[in-house]
Symmetry: C2
Subunit: 201 residues, 2 copies
């Protein structure tokens, strides 16, 4: 038997290997065997930790979303800076090949969510947390007088998240590297700049 610490290390190693294997082979083609090879562990050991590929991928989604949530919750600075950082992290991140490959694997995984309760629940929970994080940044900005007081944090958060998600999907599937950046600029022109502008009056 492994002790708790060993088990936690093994879990992290398997998650890293899953990340690499998904980037390399994509969601549809990844197998327990390929993940085992990537991790340098035996397929048997992988099965000791996870019953099935479904089980492993649901755990990976949970791990990835938790890491993402920690990541965006750790953004600091003024509300203004936090909002910029949040939006740009989404857009700039999608530039690297590895991030593109992961984002594509995640998009494939998401198309399975209508048939997979665990994926769907985790995606719904994550959607809620991310929207709340954006809304809280805007709320703080209103409280501190840097954003207009009549702005609706939940409504803006909804539009920010949907447009960034759509932009990334289109950038990836159309193969136009500037797509997400162009939508970010549109988001500033139509929504974010206006959120700030009125405070200068």
């Amino acid at each position: 038997m492994e002790n708790e610490e060993q088990s936690e290390t093994a879990h992290t190693e398997i998650m890293d290997a899953t990340y690499q294997a998904l980037c390399k082979y994509g969601y549809a083609s990844v197998t327990m065997e390929k993940i085992a090879t990537e991790s340098g562990k035996s397929k048997g050991l992988l099965h000791y930790h996870f019953d099935s590929k479904d089980d492993l991928l649901a755990a990976f989604l949970e791990y990835l979303l938790a890491r993402f949530e920690q990541d965006i919750e750790s953004i600091d600075g003024t509300p203004d800076e936090q909002l910029d950082e949040f939006i740009n992290r989404f857009v700039v991140d999608s530039g690297s090949d590895d991030r593109q490959a992961l984002h594509l694997a995640l998009l494939e995984l998401r198309t399975d969510a209508p048939f997979n309760d665990r994926y769907r629940e985790q995606l719904a929970r994550n959607d809620k947390i991310v929207r709340e994080t954006i809304a809280n940044i805007i709320r703080d900005g209103i409280d501190q007088g840097v954003f207009r007081s009549d702005a609706d944090p939940e409504t803006i958060a909804r539009l920010v998240l949907a447009s960034i998600d759509g932009a990334r999907t289109r950038e990836l599937t159309i193969g136009d590297d500037g797509y997400a950046g162009a939508v970010r600029d549109a988001l500033y022109d139509c929504v974010i700049d206006d959120l700030r502008a009125e405070t200068n009056e």
Copy 2:
């Protein structure tokens, strides 16, 4: 040999059968055989029209996007009404089970676009046409004095399309029927209402 008219009828019938088969089985599981069964034609006849499943699905994507483009170009009324109709057609359409199934199959297909030149070219062309259609509606509205003269048609069109696309993907993958409607409302609150409001001054 079929004459041109027969060939065109057969093409439409095969496209209809592909639509049905994609809704029934999804993109990953659909086969030439299943599409043949759906169309009431032999697999041999299907192969007479299309060399491979890839070939057939690329033709189907072209057919579907062309139909969608005709559909949105046929929207009439004042620019105000046209914009509402465009946005609501996207959102309301996604409500029915059949449309959900098709949208999901299309999302799966889009995840293959980075590896499929024909998909990617068609999706890029469609993206451009749809954005231009929205921008033209806004441009007409500015010319007719119903939308603010300082609005940027291309920028707003970009944000409208990205946010609706992201909203539909989230509605579908999270399984929340009200998601696209909520993003539409956010789009009106943050962008569209503002496009109109200033003209009353």
